[in-house]
Symmetry: C2
Amino acid sequence: MTDYSPFFTPLGIAIVGASASPEKLGYGVARNLVNSSYSGAIHFVSHRAGNLFGRPVYPDLASVPNPVDLAVLIVPAPGMAAALRACAGRNIHAAIVMSSGFREAGAEGAALEAGIVEIARQHGIRLIGPNCIGLLDTHLPLDTTFLPPPMPPKGDVAFISQSGAICAAIIDWARGQGFGFSRLISLGNQADVNETDMLAAVVEDENTRVLTLYIESVADGRRFIEEASRVTRRKPVVALKVGRFEAGQKAAASHTGALAGSDTAYEAAFRKAGIFRAATSEEMFDWASALASCPLPAGRGIAVLTNAGGPGVIAADALETNGLHLAKLADSTRQRLAGLLPPAAGLNNPVDMLASASPEDYAACLRLLLDDAAVDGVLLILPPPPMHPAESVAEAVIPLIRASGKPVLVALMGEALIQEAAERFRRARVPEYRFPERAASALAVLAERAEFLSHVEVRRTTPTGSDSSEDQVRLTKPDQAVRCDAPSLVAAYGIPAAPTKLAQSASAAVQVAAELGFPLVMKIASPDILHKSDAGGVTLGLRSEQEIYLAYTEMMNRVTTAAPQARIEGVLLQRMVPDGQEVIVGMVRDPQFGPLMMFGSGGVEVEGLKDVAFALGPLDQAEASDMIRRTWAGRKLRGFRSLPPADEAAAADVLVKLSRLAFDHPEIAEIEINPLRVLSQGAVAVDVRLKS
Amino acid sequence: MTDYSPFFTPLGIAIVGASASPEKLGYGVARNLVNSSYSGAIHFVSHRAGNLFGRPVYPDLASVPNPVDLAVLIVPAPGMAAALRACAGRNIHAAIVMSSGFREAGAEGAALEAGIVEIARQHGIRLIGPNCIGLLDTHLPLDTTFLPPPMPPKGDVAFISQSGAICAAIIDWARGQGFGFSRLISLGNQADVNETDMLAAVVEDENTRVLTLYIESVADGRRFIEEASRVTRRKPVVALKVGRFEAGQKAAASHTGALAGSDTAYEAAFRKAGIFRAATSEEMFDWASALASCPLPAGRGIAVLTNAGGPGVIAADALETNGLHLAKLADSTRQRLAGLLPPAAGLNNPVDMLASASPEDYAACLRLLLDDAAVDGVLLILPPPPMHPAESVAEAVIPLIRASGKPVLVALMGEALIQEAAERFRRARVPEYRFPERAASALAVLAERAEFLSHVEVRRTTPTGSDSSEDQVRLTKPDQAVRCDAPSLVAAYGIPAAPTKLAQSASAAVQVAAELGFPLVMKIASPDILHKSDAGGVTLGLRSEQEIYLAYTEMMNRVTTAAPQARIEGVLLQRMVPDGQEVIVGMVRDPQFGPLMMFGSGGVEVEGLKDVAFALGPLDQAEASDMIRRTWAGRKLRGFRSLPPADEAAAADVLVKLSRLAFDHPEIAEIEINPLRVLSQGAVAVDVRLKS
């Protein structure tokens, strides 16, 4: 693993391209670095020698005194190669390339970018950028950006961004919100260092408790999942991934391919890696502040404490919407609340203390709720009580919240009248939100984090050696859709498939039937007939050699009448599979993340019903079961009305094995079992289709 | 229609219970009224005579000089009856009862509330409250609340709230956001005046352009829909309805009943009335400010103008998420943009001007986009350009935005650096949002409003006389689930039903068969057999009297073996219905809103698949078609793969007729046709179940 420490704890920084002209970036960077109280050495380099902020400006890197181990490079793109060579000459192995004019500017820029990457590799220099706004550490402190001062407040949330503009806007927004950061990193074009590198590096920062991520794409999907899985076991990660609706739907050969949108794989990757995916920027930071400062709840039962009915109802709704529920309070809690509150108060959860509630009432009721074993967390709602300032309530409850082992989130409703209270909550590191809905969403993420940590095992993110690798089947028809009935491929991975064989004459059919055993189903084999039964090309329940012979002759007559132009290759004979529930199991290979598995309601209507779930391979049994339960087809496997239960574990096993097959056979682009018939014991692949 | 003008344009106001003690509500109200610059007469009434804010305090209402036509009553609950009688004595017909201690405080308070309502009715007094925080009009101006000053800024959005606490918090929040209101009304217990009354009254206010509504329930569902439908044709209404997850699921006799949650009817009512339903308070006001000040778009094609890639991608995602799309720019527009912008700029929508964009660039590009016929609206993204203050961009674009007939919404990203720009946009009445996602959501509502106004016909909200009322069928078994096969009830409304008759012996079956005609299906008739086919109780394709006779005997043998305890009433004979697509059509009567209609995928898995749509009756053909297209079952009616198209119009017709039946028969609680078989021409009810 690379040592990124010169980026984060440099002994000395050289700003190459420092400038005395306030409209230049090189001025802003110099100003911020000087103002940031960075305690290491600061060196300015520029063609125009002289003084800047009371420090000497050196004509070149070579003239800079020691120590210097980080370079911030703000020179025109064509001069960047020389600047990097100068870094190598000074034994500098970390450079932040801020200048633009590279890949983002067209072909010429891309060539320049390739050039500087090559030089960096040659000399062992790691490079952030180009075309970025630098990085910032509020604790060291260190500020290599050119953004208008002051720095954002100190905090424990790190933000890694693939967009410089988002980074700048977030810094400014956070400042206004009093939201603190530990580190901010603008990745720019990611010619070298990318989001995955930074995740792995920043998790080591002791001042960072939560990592947040703005990404448009990842450089290497599998590596991202591996690193992120390691990171999320230590600290929570919240990501905002944009570019959900990329144009350019590829032509898919299977239902799985058609249903997997460009965003599905990212969704599955985040799930696999244990990353929380926020829908909006606001949500990302709402969640991050709760994750950074709250204890995790033991369950999903939440108490709502309010001084008014309306906000209590909003909170109750929002808890349900977010998959939490109102805790059922113990009788003893309710009795004690009754002793404290006026007769008209609401003692059921939400607890409505009424508008007369004093700061002392807030504190006393909160204590009772936190003491109730059924309560896993509290949503405290604070529209300023008519007779008391909101800050006095804040003062009364903060010590309880800080001392509690359960999370308490505050919905501090209003604006002007709650500023002082907001300030006190922030100082005490108690997350507060303007609306109950946002607090409820943050509480839900705390519950998810708790569940993630309690369930996490060391799940494999790449498959270990397959136990059936010696059985690998070579595919004979690459680059076209092949339909194999009950194929040996899935069978080689231990997925039971209905034995199927091709016969090209009536007498061959009789012979094949004798091999397979009865009862049998006969299907026409033709690349030109999509809907076999419509063309009279399916006969079920054949039980003797005589029936087979007859069925062959009749089928040929029917089909050649119904579809005279179709090429007929013969018939497929398949052992009849016992009754069971039919589902679809499929895999489509995502270019970034590899095998993306699907499970759901099969049949021809799969794309209409959209009752499917996706997950990234490799799957273990638990992940496969989780996918199954996310669909109606899967929940139905446990039995539904007159439908007897089917073997859910066998269906999960097929998913696990199919994912292993997908890893062993990178030449397969899509594979789909539709239907997989799930029996009372076991499951059988009735029809398998694949595309290489 | 009642005249509510004394509430909104009183000539003189008496505050009964005015107080000189700052901790009393009667002090706050007096202070606010005096400070509000209200131009009418202000009178104070209190037992303690004297002076208050330089005005005399009268000992009783009788002593107050004219004019006085509105009373604000702040006396203890037990004295309220007397206070109202005193109002009657002064010919005052409008009273705001602020005091609490009524219904919200228990049985005793409820009795007091009933008492004051009776007195008000006797004397023709309209009453807002009790237990409310009053009302406020920023334009008159008038402030009868006791909330801390100052009043919220003037604006054109009215807010009607069933929660006083929400009202207070919103006022404070709005003040901080610079968000203006026209009127605010706190409804309190709604002993008399309710949300529907106020919707109808406030739409008349010329200073109000948008109505917003916080509600927990409505007093009278049908009246609410009628009034709201009238209001939304004139001005947009945005509602936040809470209490989505009320406990107490009733026992349902049908799939329709089981699938209709307590919130489904509200969702359908808002859709029917043309009300926009916001998910959160923030969203409500985000939408309201756009609706109040923007022209409506002609379509859903939006251009994004940005100076950075990241926010552009976020905006593109958010547009898609909200059902809008990126407009395809004309070649000429792209050429002109190319002439203005640097070579690396993004000329496809989103248009990325790059960080160097000046205020002039913003204005010039915005003009080009607004001139493009494919562009129905613009989302302008403004992270402060590194080299220019955000307010200079605001100055440059505001005149264009104000002059444009197309909506332009601004995502002003950041906080500290954009305050001045935010201020200018607000003053110019250009809606601005901190995040592109919120701006996109507001743009979508503008598009919905435009579509609503263009499609709106004078739809009936209560049914006109049914053309089949003379055919009304009296139900014989009230209060229990009755299964009637192909019943005469739906047939009387012109819904074709497969003719079905009961036969209680083999020879009777033969006779019935002769009446019905062949082919027939025979089903066991037994209240104890739920799944008939499992018990051998269904035989299809009976084509002769002989087959009928035989089938009867065999069925009785099978069924009595399979279910020896079951009561057997005979067999039902039904004409076989041709092949078609099977759907479910149902109605459940909502206690508030009346007949709630359902359409979707039928069969036994209807509750698992949840492929259903709801709408409130009465339905016209267009509403029914809209419901159908919201489901996969409905979209499939147009044909899917080998499935031939079925008669969508006939299915819609069944919905329309079933809704009429439901209005004619208030004694029916639930009715369900499952399946309705939709044929290539027409549709036939195969099985009908109802509950009285």
